[in-house]
């Protein structure tokens, strides 16, 4: 039995950052990279299922990214993934979530897992699209924003709750194999031990190319994408009126605001 987990190394911005010269992204030097928060939860969910299973279960993580993503993949290995797979080709540069999904689906076909997890969204581009588009290319049942899951590896169906708006949940049964996008809070992701981090550093990250997956250059990158970034810019934000001074002065002004409110409310 096998669970495949699509993961992404996301980027957060340094406090002061600059837009790249072509105006279509932030300069790479200002990007702080880490494993996508949502993916931490989907990996944990797979590892928990493996631990609870009586039969053997293989947990495989896959990312469509250049070499720098090995760091995130090794983090997954340290947290319990059995294998890590990275797929890249320079032609994939500029891929949108749908082009990435096309590659993930090809990788999933080769791996033939019993279940595929992805995060609900990535914290940097928040498209919330990659996992569900992957399901479309695979022709698999799919569901988004799963906040609790009851699944035994190899089972023909799974029962889960999806988290709706405003504190509402819905219980759903789905045929397997399926693609589920996993929500924050579904579990408590473990920390990697020093020993497992050391072991993960020695494990290989398997690398595959376009040709390995029998994809053409036209199916990925900008030509395989359903959207294209024209321009990235720093928005004019509504500016909060800053309260200055030392901590005591700031607290005094805050207290005034609270008392004004209470005066109005009274």
């Amino acid at each position: 039995m096998k669970i495949l987990i699509a993961v992404k190394q996301v980027a957060a911005l340094d406090e002061d950052f600059e837009i790249r010269e072509d105006g279509r992204d932030v300069e790479a030097e200002f990007l702080i990279r880490d494993l996508n928060e949502w993916d931490d939860y989907s990996l944990e969910e797979a590892v928990k299922i493996k631990e609870a299973s009586s039969g053997p279960v293989e947990v495989v993580v896959v990312s469509v990214a250049p070499e720098e993503a090995d760091e995130a993949l090794r983090k997954c290995l340290a947290k319990g993934a059995d294998r890590a797979l990275r797929i890249w080709d320079d032609a994939m540069e500029g891929s949108d979530p749908i082009a990435i999904a096309r590659v993930l689906a090809a990788a999933a076909k080769a791996e033939a897992p019993d279940m595929l997890f992805a995060g609900v969204q990535s914290s940097d581009q928040t498209f919330a699209s990659t996992g569900i588009a992957t399901a479309a290319f695979l022709g698999w049942p799919h569901a988004a924003v799963v906040s609790s899951l009851d699944y035994a590896p190899g089972a023909k169906s799974a029962v889960f709750r999806r988290e709706l708006e405003g504190g509402l949940l819905q219980e759903v049964e789905i045929q397997c194999p399926a693609v589920l996008t996993i929500q924050l809070g579904i579990n408590t992701p473990r920390y990697a031990s020093l020993r497992s981090i050391k072991q993960a550093a020695a494990k290989p990250v398997e690398v595959k190319t376009l040709a390995d997956l029998k994809l053409s250059a036209g199916e990925v990158g900008e030509s395989g994408s359903h959207s294209r970034i024209r321009r990235m810019y720093i928005p004019d934000k509504g500016q909060a009126q800053l309260i200055e001074g030392d901590a005591a002065a700031k607290a005094r002004r805050l207290a005034e605001i609270i008392r004004e409110f209470k005066g109005d409310a009274a």
């Binding site: 911005l13 979530p97 919330a128 405003g166 504190g167 759903v172 924050l184 959207s227 009126q241 209470k262």
Partner: protein, 325 residues
Amino acid sequence: MSGVLVIAEQRRGELRPVSLELISAARALQGAEGLRSAEGNTVTVAVIARSPELFLDSLKLAGVDEILAVKVAAAEFDPDTFETAVGALIEARKPGVVLVAHSVDSFGYAAALAAKLDLGLATDVFKAERIDGTLVATRGGYGQKVNVEVDFPGRSTVLLAIRANTFKPPDQPGAPRISEFAAPATASRSGGRDFIELSSNDDVDMTAAEFILTIGRGIGEETNVAQFKELADAVGATLGCSRPIADAGWLPKSRQVGQSGKTASACKLYIAMGVSGAIQHLAGMKHVSTIVAVNSDAGASIFGVAKYGVVGDIFEIAEELRRLF
């Protein structure tokens, strides 16, 4: 191809408010009145439900040219049903733009539909316009620190998932044409069972609280919750939290403010301490008239919606503030 197709969203017998906002987004896309009258430049609203007739009256609004009642077997949202129905609508009507809500339901099918039907796709869109005839959608990136403009070269139909609370719903009634649309039958591979209301033994009602003090990831450790609880009590505020605090189990889920938690509907003063301001959190509080943000990161997005901002150490400020009450 032309015209805008809006997919209304309903749940448990009620039209979700964002459905009406989508109509305004559609009208904004059409641009000037002159363009509106051009042939084929219409706004069509489709309502997909077991009993679509229940929702027709609420959709008879200015700017809507036609309402399509699409009857389906599924009682509630189901990805396969919606993919089939919206797919059939697109094939039949060939709209230039399809608008759906950026919501949990659309997360479940919009990207699959775009992948299958070769549609342009952008989600969490808060601005859509035509620039020199090119459809351009604007969304956020890198934790809302940048705006990202995307376009859709070579796509004759583009699906946009629109962020809720971005467009004002139309306030004028209209007299659209009403038609029925027969969607192909679907063999659903998943089935929704019961809805479950979030409950807890905490009796707080965040939707009724007028003064909320919210804590976020910035508080660092569970042991620090107590001091902010005490501060909230002292100043007379209801203690709320952002998602990470509830997920970690430090406060009950019923105190979570945001898209998947509660909306601070009655709140007039909202003090956010150590909350970065993820878009999902803002969805539950950005309407509050007086928001005060306290955060050590001057670049935190919460300062973009706050009236007052305090850049500084939340513990130090909390301690100083406690002394004054």
